[in-house]
């Protein structure tokens, strides 16, 4: 047997997949398609089902319901070792009794590849992760970052059409994470395989992915590019999980193409229609909110105006960040270009924004704050 060195990524089709542990539902009827060669991240808090989904694709856990297809093949019930999928684990999972070269050669040995070709492939893979000089070291003699590079080389040396990564950078410090993120992007471009990357770090997902699937409580909330998720979140959970935001809760009154929402005694306008009578909120990104002196009033189509008191002011170099407390006690974050005379803490200000910059979302009860 020889190695197929030119890989094409394979599509993954997840159809109606569920996973139950006794009475606990870890995954609830998930459907998702990852395109060939795509870099897709599964993003969500811990316990949201993203790792369960990855384990189902890899074959480490059994499906409770549904189907998973890799390319043309249904793999839902194929044993893990016959799926030909590369996996990189958060804890590296290098074999401690084998040298770096032996670790990387392991999947090739299982595939019965001849010794000479094996050596060449190992060398190529180690060069790709810049560790060709460490072939004869043992894992315990390497740093965390180097170990994860070896794990990456081992997972891609047999040129799988799909590479799964389960928080591969979770155990590394921030600087090293950023370096390895760039390397993973480069390797993805060079390999052409489909990548599925599990993370709870939204920044990492934004940096790496073509598209992101946001998981919450065993369901997928939304799938889209980072830009789509940031600018047009479909649920409050997604809006709050990706990027910084403020949430205005109030009483809404439907009408025409816009919805009026009364927040802290002021009536605000949000684009779109509230589909139900259930509570709705306006989600605001810090950069779309203007902070102006009280009594300034309407300016440049910024027709939504709310009064408040500056609670915190942070100087960030090119920008300033304000945290403003509203009459009802809630807070709004605003990021503005640096001003020569910033508003002092405690001063009364007006927050103004263009109604179309706010997003009207059903209130699903999620509160701000992510883990990562």
């Amino acid at each position: 047997m020889t190695l197929n060195t030119s890989t094409k990524g394979a599509a993954i089709d997840i159809r109606g997949v569920s996973k139950f542990y006794g009475s606990f539902t870890a995954l609830d009827d998930i459907s998702l398609r990852v395109e060939p060669g795509e870099f897709m991240s599964f993003l969500g808090p811990s316990g949201s089902g993203k790792t369960t989904t990855l384990n189902l694709i890899a074959g480490f856990t059994d499906l409770s319901a549904g189907e998973i297809r890799l390319g043309e093949q249904s793999i839902g019930h194929v044993p893990a070792h016959k799926r030909n999928i590369g996996v990189v684990f958060q804890h590296y999972a290098l074999f401690p009794h084998m040298s770096v070269a032996q670790n990387v050669a392991y999947p090739l040995k299982q595939r019965g590849i001849a010794k000479a070709e094996r050596a060449r492939a190992v060398d190529r893979a180690l060069q790709k992760v810049q560790l060709d000089k460490f072939a004869h070291r043992y894992p315990s003699e390497l740093s965390g970052g180097q170990q994860q590079r070896v794990a990456l080389a081992r997972a891609m040396v047999f040129t799988p059409s799909l590479l799964l990564m389960d928080e591969p950078l979770g155990a590394l410090d921030k600087k090293l994470r950023e370096v390895l993120q760039l390397e993973i992007r480069r390797i993805h471009r060079e390999l052409g395989s489909t990548f599925v990357y599990v993370t709870h770090d939204q920044e990492e997902a934004l940096v790496l992915s073509d598209r992101i699937a946001v998981f919450n409580k065993g369901r997928i909330e939304q799938v889209g590019s980072g830009h789509q998720l940031y600018t047009r979140p479909e649920t409050l959970f997604v809006g709050q999980f990706i990027g910084e935001s403020s949430v205005l809760r109030g009483v809404h009154r439907a009408g025409g193409t816009e919805t009026a929402l009364t927040v802290a005694g002021t009536t605000l306008v949000a684009p779109g229609q509230a589909k139900t009578d259930a509570a709705h909120v306006i989600l605001l990104r810090p950069e779309s909110v203007m902070v102006q002196a009280s009594g300034t009033g309407l300016k440049d189509g910024m027709t939504n105006i709310l009064g408040g008191t500056v609670r915190e002011m942070l100087y960030l170099g090119a920008a300033m960040k304000y945290e403003v407390t509203l009459a009802d006690g809630s807070h709004v974050i605003a990021r503005t270009p640096t001003q020569d005379e910033p508003f002092a803490i405690g001063s009364a200000v007006e927050l103004a924004w263009n109604p179309k910059d706010g997003t009207l979302l059903a209130d699903d009860g999620s509160t701000a704050g992510h883990e990562g």
């Binding site: 074959g59 044993p79 893990a80 070792h81 030909n84 684990f89 401690p96 392991y106 043992y138 047999f158």
Partner: protein, 262 residues
């Protein structure tokens, strides 16, 4: 220099305990070179005749061979069964695993005489008294707990996620066991095998019950020799075994240190 009394007392106590621990073993060495046929300390005269007797008398040398053969078979059988049991228990978890583990370890807790009487009763019915099968079965029973404990301790620190990784790389469960699990729990298996060998080699209580004039293990031969006459060959045997175990343990320590690279 001032004499440090507490330190001196500590040193003295340690020395006394050390003597207390090794003296009974060391005392047999001079006794094995006794000139006359009497097991006394200090020995009188000097000769090598008891060593000569051990190697030339079929009663003695034959029993050594029997013991060695039984111990080798026991260490193989007990290691295989004990290792499989330890892995099964580790993977099962839960209450059932705890019960199975407790059952496997009982031979270590039950008094030897009780076990011996039971085994003897069963063997009388099944004609296993004084047979190879009889010795191997009985000693394996006694050796399995040691293997289960040694391998279990090693499995407790074994990272099962490595097996998941091996599966993702294309290795079947059997291949994974032989290429990943086995090499990593080998220290536990080897020490289990050594314990099993030793357990069988110096087992005396059960062996006394199931022995026969045709098939006698070394400890039984020593015991019957001691009760019949005070033959200094016993001291010669003891010295040889002491030498052999010291060598084995010494080598084990040296290689054990070297193997600890991972």
């Amino acid at each position: 220099m001032k004499l440090n009394l507490p330190r001196l007392l500590l040193g003295l106590t340690c020395l006394l305990i050390a003597i207390w621990l090794v003296a009974p073993t060391l005392i047999i060495i001079p006794m094995s070179f006794a000139g006359k046929k009497s097991l006394v300390f200090p020995p009188q005269g000097f000769s090598l005749q008891w060593y000569e007797n051990f190697f030339t008398n079929p009663q003695w040398f034959g029993s050594l061979i029997v013991s060695a053969k039984v111990a080798v078979m026991v260490s193989v059988v007990a290691t295989v069964i004990g290792t499989m049991a330890a892995i099964g228990i580790e993977r099962m978890r839960g209450r059932a695993a705890g019960i199975i583990r407790a059952v496997l370890i009982t031979p270590m807790i039950v008094p030897g005489v009780v076990l011996a009487v039971g085994i003897y009763a069963v063997y009388l019915d099944t004609r296993l008294v004084g047979t190879w099968t009889g010795y191997v079965l009985a000693h394996t029973l006694l050796a399995i707990p040691f293997v289960v404990i040694a391998v279990g301790a090693n499995l407790a620190v074994f990272d099962e996620r490595l097996e998941t990784a091996a599966a993702s790389l294309g290795a079947s469960r059997l291949t994974t066991f032989f290429t990943i699990t086995l090499p990593l729990i080998l220290p536990g298996i080897l020490s289990g095998a050594l314990f099993a060998f030793v357990t069988s080699f110096d087992e005396v209580i059960v062996s006394l019950f199931i022995t026969s004039p045709q098939l006698k293990t070394l400890p039984v031969q020593i015991f019957s020799s001691m009760t019949r006459d005070a033959d200094p060959t016993v001291a010669a045997v003891g010295s040889l075994i002491f030498l052999a175990t010291s060598l084995i343990i010494g080598l084990g320590l040296i290689f054990g240190m070297r193997g600890r690279r991972v």
